[in-house]
């Protein structure tokens, strides 16, 4: 690779890092100044803490941690997901 290409690639990388840092800084400031909006946005994207999806994932993780058969754990997790099991 020629020195010009290496320099150009490095400059692009630095530009990308600056852009990402600026975006993170902007987002961080907005989240700090408007914490309620940040929390609502987080819930809109990731869902509520007590959603069946998160509960099903917790059931899956707990079942695996108890060394139960994977098929049984997946089945139980699915039942929690569709609401057949509380």
């Amino acid at each position: 690779m020629s020195p010009e290409k290496r320099t150009g690639g490095f400059k692009s990388f630095i530009s990308g890092v600056y852009l990402l840092a600026a975006a993170c800084l902007l987002f961080g400031v907005c989240a700090h100044c408007y914490p309620d909006a940040g929390e609502r946005l987080r819930q809109a994207i990731a869902g509520t803490e007590d959603s069946p999806v998160r509960e099903a994932f917790s059931v899956l993780a707990e079942g695996l941690g108890e060394s139960r058969p994977v098929k049984e754990v997946l089945s139980e997790s699915y039942e929690v997901l569709v609401g057949e099991k509380a």
Partner: protein, 182 residues
Amino acid sequence: MRRLKITFGFCALVCILGWLDHVFCLWFLLCSAAHELGHLLMMRLCGVPIGSIRLTASGAVIEGGFSDYRREILCAAAGPVAGLLSAALLIPVAPRGAAVGLLLSIVNLLPLYALDGGRILRGVLLLCCSEERARKTAYTVSIAVSCLLMLLACWATVCLQAGLWPIFAAMMLLWRAGERDQ
């Protein structure tokens, strides 16, 4: 020549995942790394030349010069196998990480072209049928499965209060499934 390219989309995805749940993000990255290492190891063992490795928002893309379909099937299957092995190793120490690895491997085995399952399906079809028929069948299956996933994502968002991430993920898979085989 091996080159690692990290796209802005990948960095943005990591930042967003980290903001949403940093523990989940960490396990997702570790399990994904184990998955891709499985691919790379099998490609090395099969003597497949490795081109560039691109980390994008829709996943990692490893460009390799496959000379036959059997090697492509083996290399595609190696990722989910490595993911399942890493999940099994994580069970006693980090069940949550094991769950992430398990789900990642299961999703990767879906018959969508961009995912390993789709590549395996395409490889098997190419071994059995003509090239045109195999590619057409694999493409049709990919589109059908990705549309079904989109419906499931909408159901999860509306009925299960899962948030918008299932729809974003389904959109990404639908977009990748629509990429024609080059």
